[in-house]
Amino acid sequence: MKFLETKGLTKAFGGLVAVDDLNLAVDKGEIVGVIGPNGAGKTTVFNLISGMLPCTRGKTYFNGETITGMSMHQIAERGLARTFQLPRLFGNFTVRRNMLMGLHLSAETGFWKCLFNSSKTKASESKLAARADEILEEVGLGGRKEELAYNLPHGLAKTLQVALSLGCNPALLLLDEPMTGMNMEEVQEMALLIRRLRDSRNVTFIIVEHNVRAVMGLSDRVAVLNFGKKIAEGRPSEIAQNGEVIRAYLGGTDDVA
């Protein structure tokens, strides 16, 4: 059993089959890229794995456990975190407070303890404050701690999302289009960050991306989806030459008018 495995994962919205019988397996410490044209079902796959949507058929196994049917927060507790395609943040919170929220799973949330602000709560919160600052420095948001999250530019909003998902000490991170809307320099930074996290914290990544060049350079393996089906999987060099993949992105000779 691999670290994350989906068997026959299917999601149908009425007649529309968004994800069709997907079998994906990811090893610990891998960076797996998921690419495909728009509407291929990539984000839906993430929604299914992370528990946001119930699946029509199929099972997901993570770290030896069956996580199909679990709620999002239960899956997060087990070390699987995700980011969102359109940056979801706690907009009215400052960056620092966003990060403090991200560390929710390590926080003391006993009602009576919080009511009386016991010494245990104080100690826990100061530890979390230190960790929050640490993570923000690591991702490069150290200078913007007191800014309101909805004021952040797009690239930094995505970075903050990644920082938030690091708060629950994930063993597996699902990144949904982490590089969309970024310039070349920011893409480089994000790629370096992902590599660094994999090397230093041993985080496994599954990355959905449209920036094909970036994801090819970053990933150990790439899976390609089209119309909900996996049409190819393998090393980046193999995928780049795969005829079906090229046809999916660019169309074939019979598509030419």
């Binding site: 992370s50 946001m52 709620s71 999002m72 927060h73 997060a76 507790e77 975190a81 995700r82 969102f84 979801r88 943040l89 706690f90 907009g91 009215n92 919170f93 400052t94 407070r97 403090l100 929220m101 991200g102 929710h104 799973l105 926080a107 003391e108 949330t109 009602f111 919080c114 009511l115 009386f116 602000n117 709560t121 104080k122 100690a123 919160e125 100061s126 404050a129 309101l148 938030l164 998902s165 708060g167 629950c168």
Partner: protein, 326 residues
């Protein structure tokens, strides 16, 4: 200057409230202050629930359950009032647990309507059973708290101090929770429930806790009302009362802890100034409300922060970003 207000503002107000009866001896004004205490308790507890994004329109229902619990226990079973007052909070909280289990996952406007239905359901049940709930006639002759000689209709000072104490305790509890991590979790649920879920927040559990909290304090307000007025009936705890609580929160300002308190205090006291106008009192009240909705989108506190005290602008997001610094 701001630091002084922040540090000594609340204790100063509390001291003033406790010493006020030296200046204010008129029973009428004591009555107004007592009603204000009840309204503040309703408004602050509802505010805490609103910080999670849930607007409950059934707080009067919980108030009624609390009032009924303690009225029946004290009047029919002869239990002492001081034993019944925590029960009057706990029983509505248990009912809220049952109701919440079923409907806490409902969103927005539908939750609003479900809680409204709940409030009416409570009224309906109590109205249907003449025995023991008194039916539409309600329960009369509810004994005041012991010792009886301090709590008479002619000398309201005892009730006043009890009310102020309950109000201060409620505000303290709401303040502490809102500034703790739990308060931060509540705000995060309002900001983005899905994001909170994805980082490990048990959304249902925390929403349920907020709902229980609001129901508990509504029950406390209800029992205080019952033993003060010595009469409760389904005609008292109506949708109108739930609406009042909502108005206090909205007009006072939802974004700040002081908002609901200010809203409740203002909207209890200001109509009294117009009592002399007789039949026009409610008309003027309505005009004030319309004015508030049109020109004060962030409530009274919003106006204070943006127009009256420019130096407070820095704390514009005070409640939502305020967290106990370790």
């Amino acid at each position: 200057m701001l630091k002084l207000i922040q540090k000594f503002g609340a204790p100063a107000i509390v001291c003033f409230l406790f010493l006020a009866p030296i200046l204010v001896t008129s029973n009428f004004y004591l009555h107004v202050m007592i009603m204000m205490c009840i309204n503040v308790i309703m408004a602050t507890s509802m505010w805490l629930l609103a910080t999670t994004g849930l607007l409950s329109f059934g707080q009067a229902g919980f108030m009624f359950i609390g009032a009924m619990t303690s009225a029946l226990l004290v009047k029919n079973l002869g239990w002492p009032f001081w034993v019944c007052i925590p029960l009057a909070g706990i029983i509505p909280a248990l009912v809220a647990l049952a109701v919440g289990r079923v409907c806490i996952h409902i969103k927005g406007a539908q939750f609003f309507m479900v809680t409204m239905a709940f409030g009416e359901l409570v009224r309906g049940i109590f109205a249907y059973f003449r025995n023991p709930f008194g039916g539409w006639y309600g329960i009369i002759n509810i004994p005041p708290p012991e010792p009886h000689r301090y709590f008479t209709p002619l000398n309201k000072i005892g009730f006043y101090y009890l009310g102020v104490t309950l109000m201060v305790l409620t505000c303290w509890a709401v303040y502490r929770v809102s500034r703790s991590r739990i308060g931060m979790i509540f705000w995060s649920l309002r900001e983005s429930e899905t994001l909170a879920d994805s980082i490990g927040v048990n959304v249902r559990k925390h929403k349920l806790h907020a709902f229980l909290f609001a129901a508990f304090f509504a029950g406390i307000a209800g029992t205080y009302y019952a033993h003060y007025q010595s009469y409760i009936s389904p005609l008292v705890f109506t949708v109108q009362m739930s609406l009042s609580a909502l108005i206090f929160v909205v007009v006072g300002g939802m974004w700040s802890f002081g908002g609901p308190i200010l809203g409740a205090a203002t909207l209890t006291l200001v109509p009294e100034f117009f009592r002399a106008t007789g039949v026009y009192q409610m008309l003027i009240y309505g005009v004030i409300l319309v004015f508030a909705v049109l020109f004060m989108p962030r409530g009274i506190v919003g106006v204070l922060e943006e127009k009256v005290f420019p130096l407070l602008l820095r704390t514009r997001r005070a409640a939502i970003n305020a967290h106990d610094q370790p």
